[in-house]
Each structure stands twice: as C-alpha cells, then as structure tokens.
Assembly symmetry: C2
Homo-oligomer: 396 residues x 2
Amino acid sequence: MTRFEPNLRIPGPTSLPPSVREAGARQMINHRGPEFAAMLGRIRDGMQPYFGTTQEISILSCAGTGGLEAAVVNVLSPGDRVLGVSIGAFGDRFAKIAETYGADVDRMSAEWGHAARADELRERLRGGAYRAVLLTHNETSTGVMNPIPELAAAIRAEAPDALILVDSVSALGAVPFQMDAWGVDVVVTGSQKAWMAAPGLAMVAASARAWAAMETARMPRFYLDLRKHRDSAANGETPWTPAVAVVFQVDEGLRLMAAEGAERVFARHRASAAATRAGLEALGFDLFADPADRSTTVTAAWIPEGLDWKAFNGEVKRRGVVLAGGQGKLAGRIFRVGHLGSVTVDEILGAIATLEAVSIEAGRPVQAGAGVAAAQVAALASIGAGASQPAVPAGA
Amino acid sequence: MTRFEPNLRIPGPTSLPPSVREAGARQMINHRGPEFAAMLGRIRDGMQPYFGTTQEISILSCAGTGGLEAAVVNVLSPGDRVLGVSIGAFGDRFAKIAETYGADVDRMSAEWGHAARADELRERLRGGAYRAVLLTHNETSTGVMNPIPELAAAIRAEAPDALILVDSVSALGAVPFQMDAWGVDVVVTGSQKAWMAAPGLAMVAASARAWAAMETARMPRFYLDLRKHRDSAANGETPWTPAVAVVFQVDEGLRLMAAEGAERVFARHRASAAATRAGLEALGFDLFADPADRSTTVTAAWIPEGLDWKAFNGEVKRRGVVLAGGQGKLAGRIFRVGHLGSVTVDEILGAIATLEAVSIEAGRPVQAGAGVAAAQVAALASIGAGASQPAVPAGA
C-alpha cells in the first residue's frame, strides 16, 4: 500500500508533528536576546512537571549520551565508588562513561530482557559504600522499563547518601516521573524522544544534593559543566551557542503536549505500547522483554527462527515502515518498534498492518486481520473504552 | 524603514537562506540508515576542500566550544605542556579548556585588537618543549583574524613535533584554509558560522599526526571521542544520535556553497567585510582591530564617547538590525557586526543605512548617504569592479 511519509518506528529520532517541523524552519535569532530568554524560561516551566521537580533544568546542546556524561562528570570525582545498574546497552554505556572518567565502577547487571530487582539492589548496596548509583529508566536496547520509584526507595533505604543518577532519555515525558518525591538526584532526557523534536538537546535536572556535590566533584568538565549552564540560565542564556532550531522545536513540542495534557500524553503512550505488543504477538512474534518489565516507549521482539529477516525487513521498509534492529549482542536477533513522542495508535495499526501483510506474503502462519484486530483490542482496553466489546473477528 | 525580517548581524548564528530553513523542517529519518550515510559522506566530501585536507571530518553534535574541547581532550594528556596563544575571549577559553583537563598551560596573549605575532611566537617556543600550541583563527570577540599560515610555519620551524590545534569556528568556509599544506593538526568549525546552518554541529578534522596522538592521549573523553566518530563514520554513522535537522541544513548549505563556488564565497565575505569597515568608519565609528589584522567575518567598533549606546542600539534594533555587544572586558565598550555565512553586500548596506539614519537622528555629525556610499565603494573595490569609478558623492 502506498505511504506518502514513512512510518518511522525507530525509538528516536521520532516523527515530528507538522508544527514542530515548521518550528525547525524558523529564521535564526540572537541567542543572547529577550526572545530566546523567554523561550528558555517556557521550556523550563513546561518541563518541570514532567521531571517532577522545582529545580532548574539545564538545556545542553548534545545527544542523550552527552547528557549522561554531564550527569557523571558534574557530581563525581575520580576514584569514587559507583554502582552501575545495567539492564542493557545503554546501562553499560552509562557505567562505561563513569569508568572513563576514573570512577571505581561495580556493575549489577540484569539478564537482558529483565528489569533490575530492588531486592538484589539492596543486597548489593549493603556490600559497599557507593557514592552514586547509575540507573537506566528505559533501556532502549531491550524494551525494558525499570521501576525507578522502587529502585530509588531501595537506594535511599540502604545508602541514604548515595547520588541517584537516572538515564531517562527515552522515557521522560512519555511516562510519569517524580524526581523530587522519589529522591532522584540527576535526571537526563533527550529532545528526540518523548519531546517530539529533532535530536540535538539533552535536558538535565539536578537535585539540591547534586548541585551541592558539584562544588567538590573533581571530574574535569567544561562544555558539559552544569554550573555554567545554571549561571547562564539565570540570565536567560546558555553558556555556549545553543542548537537554536532544536530549541524552537522543543518549545513547540511542549506547547502541543500542554494542549493535549500530560495525562493524555501518558495514556496515548500506554495505548500505543499495548497495541504494539498485542499486534506483534498476534503475528507470532515473541516479545523479548519479560511481561512484567515491558517498556511503554519501545518494544523488542525476537526475529523468528528461519525467517530471512533481511528480506522481510527490506520489504517492510520498502512499504514505508522503518523498524530498528538489535544493538550489540542482539544485532540480527531482535527487532525493535519505537512508540514514543508523536506516536498515535493509528500509526501502530499501520505498522502492524504492514508487518501482517508482509508476514502473509512470506508464508508465515498469520491470519489476515489478526494483527490489527489484536492491536485495536489492546488499545481500546488500555484507554478503558470498548474493552468489553467483542474483538473484530480475525480475518474479517 | 520597515523590515520584514531582521537583519541579523551577530557573528553567529547567521541568517539561514530559504532552502536551508526548509531543510530544517524536514521529517526525521533513521540516522542509522542509507539516506543519512549518504548525507554524511556528501558533507565530508564537500567540506574537505574548505579544510584543505584529505582526512576524515568528524561531525560532532555540540557547539563550537564542544569542538574545541574535542580538539584538546583527544590528543593531549594531563601534565602536557601547552602554549595557549590568545588574542581574545575565545583564545582564553581554548586555554582554559586545556587547563581544566590538566594541561600545563603557558599563555602568550596579544593585546586585544591585535593578531598574534609570528616572531613573538618563535621566541616563546624556544623557551619550552610544548606538546601543543592552541591558535585562534578568527577571534570573534575582537574582530581580529590571525595569520595561521605564518604562525603554523613559525611553530613548525621552532617546535616541529608540537601539535597545532586551531579554533576556526568563525572563519572556516569564509576564508581559504589549507590544513594539510600548513601542517595544522586539528581544525574545528561550527555549523552556525560560514556554513549557513543553525547551531548544533561542530566539524573537526585531524591530521595523521593527531590521529596517532589519540592512541596515547590520556585526557578522559567519551562523548567527544574522535576515534569513536571515525569508527562510526566508516559505516556512514555517528556514534551517538546526531542533530539530524542541523545535518540536513549543513548538507543544503554546502550545496549552495558548491553552486556559488568557493572563490566567490570567499570574495563575497571579503566584500562584505570591506563594506562594513568603510561604512562604519564613514559614520565616525573607530574600528577596534588593528588595520592589518581585521577579520573577514566580524568587525568590532568602539562605542563613541558620550553616545548613549543603550538608546542608540535600542533604536537600531527596533528597526530590525541586530548587532552584537562586547564580551568580557569589552562589554559596553564595543559593538560587533557579523558578516559571515549567508551575508550579502546588500545586507551590509542595509545595516549601514540604518546605523546612518539613527546616527543622524541622534545628532551625531554624519552626512546623509556617506555611510552607504563608502560601503558601496569599498565593496566595489574589493571585488575589483568599479574601483576606478568615482564614488557617489556623499549626501547625493
């Protein structure tokens, strides 16, 4: 079937809504003038409820990985003991950054496909005086979402003084977060995920304890120095020339999110996730993540034994549905479907419809209509509408 | 006079041509797919002649300052002796970055408004075994351009093994550069300067000697690691999610530059610089920089004694001409006019016309038409056309 725009189902960059695209085409302005200052203020005010904080939010011009580096180097010193809780490639990366800057990093690694367990974390924390614990909120490589409130509570119980640094690059804005209430110290997110903008900005919030830690932290930092960002933010500026066009887009994305309302944003993500999982399973794809730990923003599925994935995915792509492959040790073994940012259930239905059609043509044992019907049923159940209605008969 | 779009005369971000603006509004694509890979390749091929190199060009998602940090941390180790040649705020920043990461930095500072002198540099190099010398090509804070070929030759003569790191953020693309021929080791530029795109990308090239230095350099680096960028570039990717919309814009900016031709790009910058200087001087503004050292991309002028700059500049701005103020110790003492990127002589004439009108209304001793006439004469002389014609009589 013809598509006039690809259905971009990678877990970021996400598709831009029309008005966000237009914002990216605006003419440049003086980044040290009042118009830019007002925009920075709006973004801070608009994001604070999503972070669940009253603290300043620093706008860094870099990828999410730069934001993770900022989280590490601003609050830690070489030799600090750090517990890197990893449930996948991005958790490994977070730990690697801390090691690169001289932290003494222990790792607590879950089997890929599973979330970190609070009881195991408590056990590990009893064993050592950690200065910081690194957590991944949403592990983009495996489609697993960690229970941050539980994990943060475990850390606060066993290691009250440890700094809790959270990579929420691919979760924040799509699911609720309460940084202040949960006692989280640094939270990092990225413009190209839930925020419906192009990549290029990382947003970082720090707790009062984290700001205090920066006064004595000795890892070297200049470009990613959060105190420089805080000082400039007081004047409505960034310390270095910001990615102005992406700032325009984040500002517009936040305007759309405010018009929709945070609860509806979260509900849309839950419904899209439910539709994706149900649709894939109805098409015979086994999901990678443990059912209890599945992410609201990205779903990973096993590539079935015997399926010529290259040919299959090539045909899916030719029809305009762009999936993500596996990363690291999962390359060639799983595929991933992003459902975050501007995602709608319509788009998920469209993606499932294409996977269904290609599956049938490839001779996989799939009943026509089964995938989209299951996805629709799951979406309706998720939003609490039509849950009691009978599903459209598969193949109808 | 009415303006429908501001005349943005700050030294970056620079105004975007229409097609570059449109490129910023494109829908996102998979940054790990063939379309993006082709674009990265085009940018490398298009930029190499401007760098004057056959080496890889790394596309970093960060501001120019992040690019300077990349230059330092990739090739140096803590304790390395470094000579920071500073002629202004950005030279000071470059040295400060090296210090932050533990280099043992000596400074050779020129009086602001002057370029670095090759003879003084040779003298300084005789005094110490430096691992690296930091040079600013164009000092945006003072409107001074350093003679990089001369300075590089001096370094090669006195300290053949020293690495030469050049901040060409606000020069490269606007003036000729021959990195390989001059023996320069690392060159940094930024998307929002000569390249006619929004801010968000720093482009960095390294010599064979610099690539070799990275193998043993011990300053910590992760996000800005150039070897990771080189390895990913071999697959047509960046190691972290790039600022895709800005990559679109740089690609389009380079297409426009190719259509114009590098020599014409350089001539346009020379003519715009000549027009700016002549126009400002005809309006009674003393230029800040030594006549021999004036920049082709930004001009700084003293704020005249007794002029209420805030009121004057407010009126200039109200009419749509956006100037830059002074930085650091020059705040409130100079103003700056950017003439790089998409700049045209028309725009400079328009800016001078506004400064002229506001000057007359402010009671400054300025003859109507004198500023624009002088600017036009200088532009014509610069491009070699009409140089023998009589100038339009001032006030005509």
